[in-house]
Symmetry: C2
Subunit: 154 residues, 2 copies
DNA sequence: AGTGAAACGACCGTAGA
DNA sequence: TCTACGGTCGTTTCACT
């Protein structure tokens, strides 16, 4: 987490390559090469660099619902202690899949994934017992409307 | 968005396959087969099914900061109209990469990506002018601490 | 940083248990 | 749903620009 900012060695060709891989992470380098006007080897080198430097990673993303995780929620958290210390206690929890320090009426936002309401209840209680946490507010997910991975390449 | 829920045809072997692809979305079917004890063709068929049914997708995920998008924020939104109608206006905005209907003191949460503070300001104003939106609250991202894609396979 | 060529390995369709 | 196998295509390495 927390990558080096402002690495500006990502040119338009690399962006085009990223765009291809956002559509299909397994598209062949040869096919990408045809699309962006580069040889297969050149594409492979660029992809290597992009992944090594952390600009991009190619991963499987899953649908919680279809894997039996029927409850998701965002927790808004207020803190009365070092935010990063609290954050590290939160990120250590398996069921937390996303956590960010924010400026605003919450100090932290954490997205959690669980199987049912009971698990969610237990989890929220667990959050409230974390040292440094003043309060939590729960936003239960009713319907995911958008999850895009393809910005930044337009 | 909004997949069919509770599809329980994802057995342990498929979960093991998913786990492999969460580590590296381009790992070869042969290598995965070795790891999970299946032939290359069987792995291929299962991956095909998993992606066709939307349980899983293999995509490139990028780091906003390294692509020159220095400002991210979560917007908490209250609505005085059909939530889904408002949601569809919001998801139509390019800079929105994530949007979910919630139960709680916000009706919607939307994550936005932009290049700088000025763009963010414009974007927030744009949100406030969307028909049906009563209010918005902005949580500016200061530091991303966790972004996991590998739950549900443990 | 890029190309091109040859050896290798992965992928895909089909057939069969 | 799995394995087995052969043809095709993608990937890797290397020498070169």
């Amino acid at each position: 987490m927390e990558s080096a900012a402002g690495n500006h060695s990502v040119d338009d060709i690399s962006k085009a390559i990223i765009e291809q891989l956002q559509e299909d992470g397994r598209r062949s380098y040869a096919a990408i090469g045809k699309a962006v006007g580069l040889s297969e080897a050149a594409v492979r080198q660029r992809v290597q660099k992009l992944t090594d430097s952390g600009v991009m990673q190619i991963v499987a993303v899953t649908d919680p619902l279809q894997l039996g995780f029927a409850r998701q929620a965002m927790l808004g958290i207020k803190v009365h202690e070092d935010v990063l210390a609290v954050a590290s206690r939160i990120t250590a929890i398996d069921q937390v899949d996303y956590c960010v320090v924010t400026a605003g009426s919450f100090d932290l936002l954490a997205e959690v994934v669980c199987e049912n309401d009971q698990d969610l209840l237990l989890l929220v209680n667990r959050f409230r017992s974390i040292p440094g946490v003043s309060s939590t507010e729960t936003f239960m997910y009713l319907s995911l409307r958008k999850q895009a991975y393809n910005w930044g390449t337009r």
